[in-house]
Amino acid sequence: MTIRDKILIVEDEQSIARFISAILGANGYETLQAQTGTEALSIISSNCPDLVILDLGLPDMDGIEILRDLRSWSSLPVVVVSARSHEKDKVAALDMGADDYLTKPFGTDELLARVRTAIRHTRTVSGNDEVARQGTYTVGDMVIDYNKHQVLINGENAKLTLSEFRIVALLGKFAGKVLTYDYIIRELWGPRAGNDNQILRVNMANIRRKIEKNPAEPQYIFTEVGVGYRMAEGE
């Protein structure tokens, strides 16, 4: 008998909390529920869940506040679920430290995929198990070789430039997770690079022309329009 992952659902809408709890329960997770921010914070400190599903619109405080509070002392994975669909809200939550963001309405398969990814990322130090163990990341026909600084497609070097490789490497390290434009720019070009993401777009266009069969139909690096990029997850 394995120990089941414990997930806290912070959601004031009963109907939504009920179905999330049901679908997670059916997939082998143990669930806890909180309806307010204060309740959520006390359950987190007393029950140590493995993941939090957090609704931003709570009766007593904004979900972003909970996130800020939580991030000051914990790196517990948080998947934000919200009816706020503007990409600015997504970027704000992600930059505040949310691991992922689902906009209501979302499908159950989408929810499960994000939960799996977020839990997996906490299990390993670097965020990606394979990278930590072997120094490579494989998805489909693509292999990112972190030691040789190469990306191989069907075993052949895709000949990325250094900055192109660094973008792919970063996305690969957090495969399955959306990284915001600002985050990528800050990580690669430093905090003073500014908010101009044109250079990132151009780099991404070049990367896709080197690694994707059809750059308009990416298999490896997906665009989250208005938010950032996400690397596909391998099996």
Binding site: R208, F222, T223, E224, V225
Partner: protein
């Protein structure tokens, strides 16, 4: 009330003043030139009549038109009729000149005001019609699925024993499909609130066209896994100024329409290309095309109910297309529809782009 009306009739604006000064100045200049060639001075009256006509037509209200006619008479008399630089009100035909200019000015001003008024009314009417159509189409788009959701769930709840597992499953699937349809209706409504009336400008940023296209296609594939999609993008990166979320919505709507209204669509071809200073998006399906009698009225907000003869689902394409047109127009773009010779519909929209943005 009366005061404001008078104020409107004799309204002053610097723009009008500039037009007035400009035209009076150039016609006076023209008269000077003409006088050097021909000393008779008869042309002066005609030139000023034309100036009065132009000013009355181009400015708002009566103020500058009337001022031009008075000034015109004075100029003709003072500058261009013998004795020069002197007033002489005894010349034969002088009252006639004055009267002519006055009548020309008043009539032109009145006509101009009427035309402008009518134009405004027409625009308002059109907007009102658009809004009413939109509301009607939204109510229709919402009411049908709601009926089905309430009906199906009540049936299951009220008949726990008499329904077979299969029947229950079928009903629940309908509920899910209808709810998903509602989600898309709401997404369209949200897009409209983002465009938000005529004053607010949408916020555009240079975006990679291929990324927005790719994302729209990825979501479409998830929703319609049985449809083959071919995606085409140019070799060079196309950066286009847009609100990417809105353009994704346009693509999503057009892709969905290709399937729902194409009837027997099995494959869709989506592409983006550069056409001069425009980014051109094409969505082509292999369905049965758009009925020729609807091609002309497709984008004017008229309701179009899909005449699906097999049809349990009489969904109309009013909302989706209205939203697409509004979004594309808000970007300064154009939209058109055609049928391809092989059958099937081609929906095309173009967004303006600037030369220096091509990388």
């Amino acid at each position: 009330m009366k005061k404001s009306r008078t104020a409107k009739l004799f309204s002053f604006s610097w723009r009008d003043f500039a037009i007035f000064v400009g035209i009076m100045f150039s016609s006076t200049g023209l008269c000077w030139l003409m006088r050097m060639l021909d000393n008779s001075g008869e042309f002066a009256t005609l030139i000023y009549v034309m100036a009065v006509l132009l000013i009355s037509r181009l400015t708002n209200g009566f103020l500058f038109g009337l001022a031009a006619s008075v000034l015109g008479v004075v100029f003709v008399n003072f500058l261009f009729t013998y004795p020069y630089q002197e007033f002489n009100f005894t010349i034969a035909g002088y009252p006639l000149t004055f009267l002519t200019m006055l009548v020309v000015s008043i009539m032109t001003c009145t006509l101009t005001a009427q035309i402008k008024q009518q134009e405004k009314l027409r625009l308002e009417n059109e907007k009102e019609k658009m809004r009413a159509n939109l509301l009607r189409s939204v109510s229709h788009d919402i009411r049908t699925p709601l009926t089905s959701i309430v009906g199906a769930t009540s049936t299951i709840l009220e008949n726990p024993d008499s329904l077979s597992v299969q029947e229950k499953r079928k009903l629940m699937e309908d509920v899910r499909d209808e709810a998903q349809w509602l989600i898309r209706v709401v997404e369209n409504l949200l897009s409209i609130t983002r465009i938000n009336g005529e004053q607010t400008q949408i916020t555009t940023e240079p975006e990679a066209a291929e990324e927005v296209l790719g994302e729209a296609v990825r979501k479409f594939r998830k929703r319609f896994p049985d449809i083959t999609v071919h995606v085409g993008a140019p070799d060079s990166l196309l950066m286009v100024n847009m609100d990417p979320i809105l353009i994704e919505q346009v693509l999503a709507n057009l892709l969905e329409n290709a399937v729902i209204h194409g009837g027997n669509t099995t494959s869709v071809q989506v592409s983006v290309s550069q056409e001069g200073n425009w980014a051109r998006f094409d969505i082509q399906d292999n369905g049965r095309g758009i009925p020729p009698n609807k091609l002309n009225t497709l984008f004017d907000g008229t309701l179009h109910h899909s005449e699906d003869t097999s049809g349990d689902k009489k969904r109309n394409m009013g909302l989706g297309l209205t939203v697409c047109t509004s979004i594309v127009h808000a970007h300064g773009g154009t939209m058109e529809a055609a049928n391809s010779p092989e059958g099937g519909a081609i929906l095309t929209f173009r967004l303006p782009m600037h030369e220096e943005e091509n990388i």
